[in-house]
């Protein structure tokens, strides 16, 4: 049992006990709930596995490297319809535009809310307004956001975002227009991730910087922002995965041309003002739900899209874990203190 009398009385380790009470002592209703929890959890796993396996199978069946590197062609039969290089580029471009607009907005508003938003009644009121606006944006269906975007970008004053059609009306559909609305989709998760990260920075960290005679701005730039880098990265990844998965905004605001169609003479700007497609709209157009011209290619593109989303999810997981693991992180410091 024990080595010596002394060590036993000084540091008795409590004996290992059974894992938990036996299920037999549970009430019937509790057992049912436990069963339901198990069934729900396992069936979710099964559904995910089924989707991934099915898409993987389709991918092996239809996905060819050539598809990724060739542009879509207009054709009656599937063999001549080309690949989905343009939709891939379109997805990347929309993601870039969306994040480029959403990231500064989300980070700045999170900074304002956490660092400046609670002095006095007016500021608290403003904070509440900002937070609920972002919640409302997050809860708005993307098709509604898309229609709103169309209404805005068809205004004459915003003709530079897209281009003027033959009848003299502003077309209102372009990469810029879609990207601007995409930023609204990406903004809420980015905002929440940054805000939660900033709120998790312990107050004594700020005080330490103030006590060194640093201004609030210097504290934000040199202490707070570096501390929430991982949170921002997580937020950006979440935003990206929402942008690349979105269909409604693309269908309404990107003009449904499978190939990117630049408008105007300036090379770079022309693409941004022109129409195009993304992987989601490509899948939709080519599936039996849309034109139905190339269902096999729709599957191939869907596999690529799903791989992207999976990789992004893994990236979020990885960033979160790396943050928790690295001893240089705020989360750890806050946990100990």
């Amino acid at each position: 049992m024990s080595s010596t009398f002394v060590s036993d009385s000084l540091a008795a380790i409590p004996p290992r006990r059974g894992r938990r009470s036996s299920l037999r002592t549970w009430r019937w209703s509790d057992r049912l709930v436990l069963l339901a929890a198990w069934v729900a959890g396992l069936s979710l796993c099964a559904i995910t596995a089924a989707i991934i396996l099915y898409m993987g199978y389709r991918g092996v069946q239809y996905l060819r490297p050539g598809l990724i590197f060739s542009r879509p062609q207009v054709s009656k039969d599937q063999a001549g319809s080309g690949g989905f290089l343009d939709p891939l580029i379109g997805t990347a471009l929309l993601t870039l535009i969306g994040i480029a607009i959403a990231a500064p907005m989300a980070i700045c508003s999170a900074l304002w809310i956490v660092e400046y938003g609670h002095g006095g009644r007016t500021r608290q009121f403003l904070t509440r307004i900002v937070e609920s606006s972002i919640e409302i944006v997050a809860g708005t269906p993307d098709i509604v956001i898309a229609l709103f975007g169309l209404a805005i970008f068809q205004l004459h004053i915003l003709a530079f975002v897209s281009f003027v059609g033959e009848g003299g009306g502003v077309y209102g559909k372009s990469f810029l227009a879609a990207g601007a609305m995409m930023s609204l989709i990406a903004l809420p998760p980015l905002f929440v991730a940054t805000r939660d990260g900033l709120q998790a920075v312990p107050a004594h960290m700020r005080e330490a910087a103030f006590a060194l005679g640093k201004t609030r701005i210097a504290t934000i730039r040199r202490v707070l922002l570096p501390s929430v880098r991982a949170n921002i990265a997580t937020g950006i990844t979440l935003g990206v995965s929402r942008i690349i998965a979105d269909t409604a905004i693309v269908l309404v605001l990107l003009g449904e041309t499978l190939r990117t169609e630049p408008q105007g003479g300036v090379p770079g700007l022309g693409v941004l003002r022109g129409t195009g497609s993304t992987l989601t709209s490509y899948v939709y157009e080519n599936s039996p739900a849309g034109e139905g011209a190339a269902p096999q290619k729709a599957y191939a593109a869907a596999v690529v899209l799903m791989l992207f989303v999976l990789v992004l999810n893994l990236a979020v997981e990885w960033i979160t874990r790396a943050q928790a693991r690295s001893s240089g992180s705020i989360a750890i410091a806050g946990g100990i203190v």
């Binding site: 060590s7 060194l212 001893s327």
Partner: protein, 316 residues
């Protein structure tokens, strides 16, 4: 095991204890070692901060009253309606350690945070009276400039999540600018680390994350960070209450070294610590400054009855 432990204080086991050898020990061969996990080893005995006679010599050499650094005239602080500090007047001199003692909630931390205007971060706090730093009212100074001259060390070690070097360099840099660059800062950083007694332990790798250091090292890093811009006054808010006795000893020794160059104001709950490090002691009670005087006088011949009771441990 636990049953045995429970019976330790029963009559029977007391009898067992009173016997010369407990029966369990007889049954165990004496060569069997106690598992190392269960033994507590002190690698070195806690040393006294400094022999008392040597401390007295230093104290005399430094002259009882160095040049005055901070003067508090009728300072009061209130949080909305609640008065936390009530018209305190004090004088803080270079070369001395002033300990603010008193029970929890007596306003000593508030008073300390008023000295570098950190209370202004609390929107409801209001201050009355005058605080003069080297002849200048601190209210007329830019708060960032003031805080570089009146530095502060907190209860919890709070290094920034950066490297050791950057933690100290951050204090030296002009606001958020990166300039001056690393090579120009290096000697200043090394000097600050050396004065904080940390350099020898970290010199191999100044660029490792500060949060990997032990608690005591982190606190000394915070001290290095605070004294790097050569402040005139160093405020310490219970700097050792989160540390082990050995780290506490190191930091108390450090406080002794530091007061040559600056005035130290330390808030402490620990009367023994105040006795070890302080030259002057101010006893506060419920926002009032009850007694202020040389450490020996306050501890040995307190004038106010409340001080006497507190120092003797009658309350607090």
């Amino acid at each position: 095991m636990s049953a045995h432990r429970a019976s330790l204080y029963s009559e029977e086991s007391m009898k067992v204890l009173s016997r010369e050898t407990p029966p369990e020990l007889e049954s165990v061969p004496p060569t069997q070692p106690i598992p190392p996990v269960r033994t507590i080893v002190l690698d070195r005995a806690p040393e006294p901060v400094r022999p008392p006679e040597q401390r007295e010599a230093v104290r005399r050499a430094l002259d009882a009253d160095g040049p005055e650094r901070l003067r508090l005239e009728d300072v009061s602080v209130a949080y909305s309606q609640k008065v936390a500090v009530r018209s305190v007047s004090l004088s803080i001199h270079q070369g001395e350690v002033l300990a603010l003692i008193g029970p929890s909630g007596c306003g000593k931390t508030t008073l300390l945070r008023t000295l570098n205007r950190l209370t202004e971060l609390t929107p409801s706090a209001a201050r009355g009276g005058r605080i003069v730093l080297d002849g200048q009212d601190i209210h007329d100074l830019e708060d960032t400039a003031l805080r570089a001259r009146v530095a502060m060390v907190f209860q919890q070690p709070n290094p920034f999540p950066m490297s050791i070097f950057d933690n100290v360099a951050f204090a030296l840099r002009e606001q958020s600018r990166r300039r001056p660059r690393r090579p120009e800062l290096e000697p200043l950083v090394v000097d600050a680390l050396r004065r904080a007694g940390l350099y020898e332990e970290v010199k191999d790798d100044l660029h490792r994350p500060a949060l990997r250091l032990s608690g005591g090292q982190q606190q000394r890093l915070c001290i290095a960070r605070a004294i790097a811009p050569r402040p005139e006054v160093l405020l310490m808010d219970e700097p050792c209450s989160a540390l082990d006795p050995i780290s506490t000893g190191v930091i108390e020794e450090l406080i002794h070294e530091l007061r040559r160059d600056l005035a130290v104001v330390i808030v402490t709950h620990n009367l023994a610590q105040a006795q070890r490090v302080a030259d002057k002691v101010a006893f506060m009670y419920l926002g009032d400054l009850v007694e202020y005087g040389p450490a020996r006088q306050v501890f040995e011949q307190p004038r106010a009855p409340r001080t006497r009771d507190y120092v003797r441990g009658a309350f607090g």
